[in-house]
């Protein structure tokens, strides 16, 4: 399956062009920057560390921004993965990144977004949601940075 992906037309086109790989990696990084900044702003607000006196509803933008950035990163990430599918899949940091990513997405959809968009939860719950969400998204980014060690 993985070698089949790697042998596909899209994957070989990407693998053969370092400019195309670089461009996809650059757009992947723009998406990741969106996720990171949106998680920092909304996470710190849930933690009560910034704009504590402002209604949580003001964080609707950053809460949605995480999803937008994630979309950009996932599309470019899948394309980058396809070019070297077997070696990525076997990489421990890649596996860790996917594990943290899956956890972050679940936590985001189940708790983080509702906490902000529907202003649900107790103050303690908000703090816990903010801390977990921020840690998970920054964890995904850190694992991605660690992947660079094996480029």
């Amino acid at each position: 399956m993985l070698s089949w992906i790697e042998a596909s037309r899209v994957a070989t086109t990407i693998a053969q062009s370092s400019m195309l790989t670089g461009f996809l990696s650059a757009v992947h990084l723009v998406g990741l920057t969106l996720v990171g900044g949106a998680a920092v702003v909304s996470g710190l607000r849930l933690l009560g560390l910034v704009l504590r006196d402002q209604p949580l509803a003001q964080m609707a933008g950053p809460a949605r921004g995480i999803g937008v950035g994630l979309g950009v990163s996932v599309i470019t990430g899948l394309l980058l993965f396809s070019a070297r599918a077997p070696s990525f899949a076997a990489n421990g940091f890649f596996q860790l990144k996917m594990l943290v990513l899956a956890t972050a997405v679940i936590a985001h959809v189940a708790w983080y977004r509702p906490a902000i968009l529907r202003d649900r939860g107790t103050p303690l719950g908000r703090t816990a949601t903010g801390a977990t969400g921020l840690a998970l998204w920054l964890g995904v980014i850190l694992a991605g940075c660690a992947l660079i060690l094996f480029e």
Binding site: G37, V40, Q54
Partner: protein
Amino acid sequence: MSASLLSVAEWLERTQVAVLVRESFWGFQVVVAVHIFGLAWSAGTVLWFDLRLLGLSMQGVPVSTVYRRIMPWAFAGFFVMFTSGGALLAGFATAAYGNLFFRLKAAALLLAGLNALVYHLVTERHIAGWDTAARPPLVARLAGLVSILLWTGVVLAGRMMSYTMF
């Protein structure tokens, strides 16, 4: 001018930091990882102030409040990004000097700094009139838009350097 810039680049590459980045086994990759983390943190955070200037997010919060509360967190990330970026640049200064994407990135960074300077020195002087406006005036919105475009350029060109310099 360019001859003197090149000699600065050659001098940078002889500094201790530069040698460490180039010659230690993990040094380079670790500094790149730290640089990217600092970037996602700082440029990503600045984006939300820019979006507030554009009137696209946090419309109910005064512009000055968003700046005061959010920017200190961005500055922390900038510190990480600029120190790690400085070390990387020192290590490969002459290669960067001749690289098209480095030149684009340096130009975008300079213009982003200039844009911020103009905002603080000129546009912000009249902030009392639109601080609480959901949609700030055109000059302020332009400052936000230009900042987003330039920072996107910095990120794109910066990543392209990794694929074109070595």
